[in-house]
């Protein structure tokens, strides 16, 4: 069935295609390589700006430093919990909302009003302070829920998901409905399996969002032991700036801070690594054309 022979123009295209992709991919990787190189280099070379893409005065002491500080591992653990819990809740809320909204208004009374209700919040927000006061009054402060519940329903991703659902053939749902399935059963048994690629896609966005969000940790958490990784690392980066500003009696601390410039690179690298490791597994779902396969089957 597959045509083995390629035309000349096709060959040229493929060569160009591969070349372009390789070049672009290289450009995407280089910053990361740089970070890695800095994290593995000695301090004097880094201070002189000599390190580009290969470590100079190779050392792993930065990693020892980053990992020995128990804070890092604890923050990593917090981040894992928060990202997992947060993403799961995001997915549940998104599916529950996107599915009904994917109906036409003659199938769901008030559908357009619901939609406007959600979309409005994409455009208008009350700002940080009122949100903070709500979270505080709800008693969520200093708990993991302060970082999860306010954004439990990411409207942007929900709209993407809803459009995916709309793209699915209507017949499937009809068939199930005729079999007497309730909407919940339909959603659970028929839609979720069909939505895997879409859920993987929006799920990835949620994961990256939760993983990188540092600000909610700063304002809602009092106990540093609860900080997620992004918040913890942000505070490390800031401590340097703060020292510069107060420079008065803090000279010695300044010295020790500059010392960890390479250590910071190591921490940033370690911090980004987990999400990058998850990514290829999610990708599997993007490329499997599940939708139509199940129609035929």
């Amino acid at each position: 069935m597959k045509k083995k022979k390629l035309s000349a123009s096709r060959k040229i295209f493929l060569i160009c295609n591969y070349t372009l992709l390789v070049v672009v991919c290289l450009s995407c990787v280089l910053p990361f390589v740089h970070l890695l190189a800095v994290s593995l280099s000695g301090r004097p070379a880094v201070a002189a700006g000599k390190v580009t893409f290969w470590p100079i005065e190779f050392t792993v002491s930065s990693y020892e430093y980053a990992l020995k500080k128990g804070d890092f591992m604890r923050a990593l653990g917090n981040s894992l919990v928060r990202t997992f819990l947060g993403t799961m809740i995001n997915l549940v809320f998104m599916v529950l909302t996107a599915y009904p909204l994917s109906k036409e208004k003659n199938r769901l009374t008030g559908r357009n009003i619901y939609m406007a209700y959600f979309v409005f919040t994409m455009l208008f927000g009350g700002g940080m302070i009122p949100t903070y006061l709500v979270v505080s009054r709800a008693g969520l402060k200093d708990t993991i829920w302060s970082m999860i519940l306010p954004g439990a329903l990411p409207v942007y991703n929900m709209v993407i998901l809803m459009n995916f659902i709309r793209g699915l053939p209507e017949e499937l749902q009809e068939a199930a409905r005729i079999d007497g399935a309730s909407e919940f059963q339909l959603l659970y048994k028929v839609m979720i399996p069909l939505l895997k690629p879409a859920l993987a896609t929006v799920g990835l966005f949620c994961i990256v969002g939760h993983w990188n969000d540092w600000f909610s940790g700063v304002i809602y958490l009092n106990d540093r032991a609860k900080y997620p990784l992004a918040t913890y690392m942000q505070s490390l980066l800031r401590s340097f700036e703060s020292l510069m500003r107060q420079a008065g009696s803090n000279y010695r601390q300044l010295a020790s801070q500059i010392n960890v410039r390479t250590g910071r690179a190591a921490q940033l690298f370690l911090g980004a690594l987990p999400v990058m490791l998850v990514y290829p597994f999610l990708q599997k779902y993007f490329t499997t054309g599940l939708t139509l396969g199940s129609v035929k089957g």
Partner: protein, 299 residues
């Protein structure tokens, strides 16, 4: 009445499904909206939301600032090109990646182009300043090809484009993921039919792939319109310098500098409200347009 009952019986489960989302949005998005009043107040956090009412004074203050209007123009310019460029590049790469037969290779490419998304602008900015310096890697390469070096970060005419291109570079992996996912849901039989009719790859792309992607493209476009006045604070803040304020200073960086000595809640909220209103006009307009012209509804 009977009709109503029937409808209720058919629909109640779906209304129930919507309930959690509605509640959470109400609590965490609608209740805080009362905070918008501070845009019209001389807000003092200690006094709370009953601070002195000043009407439109905060807006007047903003627009009386000599450089504020300039920042609106800069924001629009940079954001619009980022948006258009971002979408075209993402679609292009989704198409190119789709042409790769080798699954493992495809996945590797796909992973690599998403990498910059994981890095914050603080880090990327440090690397970019080195790469784009007068004696940096990029200029060395240009000179090797006999071209004149470019002042990427210091020339007011080049700076916005440095921002646009580097932002597209950082973000196109995100769009590519969405478009690839959309590509996978295109019926292979369509291509099969086209092939039988003798349509080449280009024709298939032109007449099948792009039309099938159109809804997703429109979707992404309209969604990004919602933040059209956010031209990228983190990126520009970390890369700009006073020499390029004329073309590179955007609303958010400007307001940040306004509020740097003390938190400027009222002015900040006023700006936010201003941006929201503009975004809403754009989103509604583009929604109507997509509905009218392409008969496609995104919401």
């Amino acid at each position: 009445m009977k009709n109503m009952k029937k409808r209720f019986k058919r629909e109640w489960q779906m209304h129930l499904m919507l309930l959690p989302g509605i509640l959470v949005i109400f609590i965490f998005s609608y209740i805080p909206l009362y905070g918008l009043v501070i845009a019209f107040e001389d807000y003092n956090p200690g006094r709370g939301f009953s601070s002195p009412w000043v009407g439109l004074k905060n807006f007047q203050f903003l627009f009386s600032q000599p450089n504020f209007v300039r920042t609106i123009w800069n924001s629009l310019y940079i954001a619009v090109f980022k948006m258009l460029g971002g979408i075209s590049v993402s679609v292009l790469f989704a198409l190119l990646l789709n042409e790769i037969g080798n699954k493992i290779l495809k996945r590797i490419f796909q992973t690599l182009i998403y990498i910059p998304n994981f890095l914050s602008w603080v880090i990327l900015a440090g690397i970019l300043t080195d790469l784009l310096a007068a004696d940096g890697l990029v200029n060395q390469t240009l000179q090797a090809f006999g071209l004149n070096p470019v002042n990427f970060l210091g020339s007011p005419s080049v700076f916005p484009w440095t921002m646009i291109i580097s932002d597209i570079w950082k973000g196109f992996g995100f769009g590519t993921v969405v478009y690839l996912a959309a590509l996978t849901s295109i019926d292979p039989e369509l291509y099969e039919a086209a092939r039988i009719d003798g349509g080449g790859k280009l024709a298939q792309t032109r007449f099948i792939t792009l039309p099938m992607l159109a809804p997703t493209i429109v979707l992404m476009l309209v969604l990004s319109l919602g933040s059209v006045l956010n031209a990228g604070f983190d990126q520009i803040y970390n890369l700009y310098a006073p020499v390029v304020y004329d073309t590179g200073d955007i609303i958010d960086t400007y307001v940040y500098r306004l509020g740097i000595t003390q938190a400027q809640y009222s002015v900040g909220t006023a700006v936010g409200l201003f941006k929201s209103v503009i975004s809403m006009i754009l989103v509604v307009a583009s929604y109507k347009l997509a509905d009218k012209l392409a008969n496609y509804r995104i919401f």
